[in-house]
Amino acid sequence: MYVELQNINKAFGDVHAARNVGFGIVRGVLAALLGPSGSGKTTILRMIAGLERPDSGDIFIDGARVNDVDPGRRGIGFVFQNYALFRYMTVFDNIAFGLIVQKEPAETVRSRVFELLALIGMEGMEKRYPAQLSGGQKQRVAFARALAPNPKLLLLDEPFAAIDAKVRKELRVWLRDMIHRLDVTGIFVTHDQEDAVETADEIIVTNNGRIEQKGSPQMLYKAPATPFVTSFIGNSAPLENYKRLKGFENGSGAATGVVRPEFVKIYPAVDGITYENSVEDAVVEDTAFRGTHWEVTLKIKNMTLPARYSLEKAPIAAGDRVKAFVYRLYAFDGDNVTLLENRNLDTHNGANRYSI
């Protein structure tokens, strides 16, 4: 493990920002700390950086305990949420700051700054001031400034928060490529699951000062460990009693759970369904156009279920009566989550092999 946290606790008055937090990140990986605001993710990042002291617990970077090491001596580059570029310095001076502090000779500073300017694709802009840059350019300058002293670990606090949707997509890809190309380890904080899923190799989900789950985006999506992760990652809607749904009648424990829209298939009533016993009668409550598909809200036995519906199929509208098949859902039992498959899945699939 390149970065390792063990039993970290931190409280601000009555607010517990970290409770027994422990995780490790392998060298060269880009990890995301993902959680709702107030979940403690930024505090965890700031403790790794040394800007905040944990009340108890140990932080290791590259095998060495760094609790008592000055932030500037931990070999970390930090990109702040609003970039915190020095307003009275040019782009050149901003990037050079960390090198000048280390008393590097002027020629080394110059060549390193121009090397970084080339890396971030901003050659020729070294004389500009931060106020003359766009949001994306500021972010890249902040990135270059943090990277200038050759840190082995890069921490980024909400790197995409202040950037509009279009540039955001580009920056995600760019950041991911950079981290992998430069062979540094990266950790970034975000509240946006799309940022995390599309950018990170590994996601650490935080909630209420605790680590809920750590894993690859696919793993978090396919095998969420806690009810919180299940609801937080991906789209989902809560079910108060899934045992009322056909095919799930004999689930164990409590009957609460969540279902994702991609787990529900809609058959317009006109379609011939050969195995009718497996499908539910549903009423379309609402439809919303999502560009690539319809997002449909269904009412089934007094429960509200989300579903996706292809643009290619016969159009449906609010008030229509349709049939729906629920492939699977996540059932909650205390803190445990189980993926339940519809008991009739095989029969259903077999019977409807040739339907659209």
């Binding site: 702040f80 915190a84 009275y88 700051f97 106020a131 840059l133 500021k138 400034r145 943090a146």
Partner: protein, 276 residues
């Protein structure tokens, strides 16, 4: 810019500009103009004197040098005071914060008498210095102290809000890059504060220059040594030489205006950085 669709809070450019110019005219421009007319009322002799009489020239020197020194002293200590008041939480902080404005609330003559009593050779503070052979009251040092007292609020109150608004991330960025505290202050914080310090300096300088009440008591008013220009204006008035007093006033006005204008120019240059 959409000119017509946006609703403005203050109605109409015409009305607001009219109000602005008439207000500034009545309160500032017309009195100034009157001063200029007055000074040349009896020909240019008053002017000639205001620009050549060695006693008056010495008066300018005392006024400008002491004001400059007082504003300078306050830039250093006012900055420290503002820093402590915004960065630290300690019992009595609100009390000290409230005391800052006291020099404004006090009638200046009261302040002058109190300062003179304290700093004269027999006073609490003055006697300690007198033992070391340093005279404060009735010297330029005394004038500077009175001016410092009177202008402290300007510096503190202009720096304080800027310090409060200053994003802590700038300092943290400096720390992460390994900068020492001294470097962080000099290279990162000080540039952010410079416009506010300059404004405070300008205000303090101008106020000290015009200060009369508190200074005359502690100054001793010895010609060529501790006689300030405002006192010369008063004494010319008492001798009914209105043109001479107006001429002295005009000279001071022009110099003050030049200083303030210069500071404003530097500041608007600095303001162009802070837009992003």
């Amino acid at each position: 810019m959409k000119r017509h669709s946006a609703k403005r809070i203050i109605p109409g450019f015409g009305i607001s500009l009219g109000l602005t110019t008439s207000f500034v005219s009545m309160i500032v421009l017309i009195p100034m103009l009157f001063l200029a007319v007055q000074s040349t009322d009896a020909g240019w002799s008053g002017f000639r004197q205001a620009l050549s009489d060695p006693r008056i020239l010495a008066g300018y020197e005392v006024s400008f040098l002491c004001s400059f020194a007082a504003a300078g002293v306050n830039c250093v200590f006012g900055l420290i005071l503002a820093w402590v008041l915004t960065r630290y939480r300690f019992p009595g902080r609100r009390l000290i914060d409230g005391l800052i404005e006291l020099p404004f609330a006090l009638p200046t003559a009261v302040a002058g008498i109190a300062l003179t009593a304290l700093y004269s050779d027999k006073g609490w503070i003055g006697s300690a210095f007198a033992a070391m052979g340093i005279k404060i009251a009735y010297t330029r040092a005394g004038i500077i102290i009175a001016m410092t007292f009177i202008t402290l609020p300007f510096i503190v109150r202009t720096i304080q809000p800027v310090l409060e608004q200053l994003d802590g991330a700038y300092e943290e960025a400096g720390r992460m890059l390994g900068a020492s505290r001294g470097r962080i202050f000099r290279k990162i914080i000080l540039p952010e504060l410079t416009p506010a310090v300059l404004t405070g300096f300008g205000l303090a300088f101008a106020r000290a220059l015009g200060e009369y009440g508190s200074v005359v008591f502690i100054a001793g008013n010895m010609p060529f040594k501790t006689e300030i220009a405002p006192l010369l204006i008063m004494s010319k008035l008492e001798q009914f030489s209105y043109d001479e007093s107006a001429a002295i006033a005009l000279v001071m006005l022009v110099v003050s205006f030049t200083v303030m204008f210069g500071i404003n120019c530097v500041q608007s240059g600095a303001a162009s950085f802070s837009k992003g």
